[in-house]
Symmetry: C2
Subunit: 183 residues, 2 copies
């Protein structure tokens, strides 16, 4: 690094830091650890990296990098890259935010739909049984019906959420909201 390009070089680093800071700051929203957030922010401006390079860059332990990378792979924000000749594994940041958005939210929403809809269906069966049970007093039956209806109403939401996830996975959503919309 020569003396004449030090100032611009510094400016580049500062500019990168601004963006990296913002990314790391908003990534808590994605439920990742600070280490993983910083790692992604770093990788966003790098090509592929090895665990050792990550550790050197962030000044953290290798297992921490290993764990963080795995977490980031789970939500598809980092992908493994193949590098012939090197024994070290290499990874690269997924830079297409549309892809990350899809992977993260669809996974999350699908889990929510599955878990809650499952519980709702099961509970509704119970409420029906209570309503049919001859030992239920009228006010018990009324309560059961009230809860049943409340759950039935909520199913509309979970179906919608599932549809939303599906339309994002399929890309159909972009017919409604184009990627390159200018306004």
């Amino acid at each position: 690094m020569s003396e004449s390009n030090e100032r611009p070089q510094l400016k580049i680093e500062e500019a990168k830091d601004k963006v990296m800071g913002a990314i790391a700051e908003t990534m808590d929203l994605y439920g990742v650890t600070p280490a993983a957030a910083n790692l992604y922010a770093t990788m966003y401006f790098e090509g592929q990296m090895t665990l050792d390079e990550m550790r050197a860059e962030l000044g953290m332990s290798k297992p921490s990098m290993s764990t963080s990378v795995r977490k980031l792979q789970e939500i598809e924000m980092v992908k493994k890259t193949f590098t012939r000749g090197s024994r070290k594994h290499t990874y690269a940041a997924e830079k297409d935010f549309f892809h990350s958005f899809m992977a993260f939210y669809c996974q999350m929403w699908e889990r929510e739909v599955k878990t809650n809809l499952g519980a709702i269906e099961s509970a509704q069966e119970d409420f029906v049984e209570v309503m049919k049970d001859s030992s239920s007093t009228p006010d018990i039956v009324a309560k059961a019906k009230e809860y049943y209806d409340q759950l039935e109403e909520s199913k509309t939401y979970y179906h919608w959420l599932g549809e939303l996830a599906e339309s994002i996975r399929s890309g159909e959503i972009y017919n409604f909201l184009p990627k390159d919309q200018k306004d």
Copy 2:
């Protein structure tokens, strides 16, 4: 509570518990504490509640209820209700999940767009300056341009995310994905 309705009554409680469990379990996705998650799950099957009733129901401290309620109000999953005659504040769960979805995600995405887009704009200005700087070597300029372009590309995503939030806030999204879609 008479002896004859104990079985159905128990069944109702068990059915509620299933749904409450699922709600509490998936609410970690919304970044709330376990106390807040359990509180919302409880309130979902109740009408309005006072802090003391919450504490009694969950067996937790009053400040914990106070904090949890405030957090849930922030993401609009609980709203304050007016009860004339009582000095105690009363709160009720927002049972319209569409509303909660909107409040939570739009707030989150708008924060992300604002923070990251702000940093990106600022960084891009820096990269432009580096490119115009006569003391920058050709490879420095090339690097600056590369980063500039990468950021420019990413702006498409943030604009899209902002649009998505807007269409959810306005309800326009339901033209594309109707609430009551059956399939």
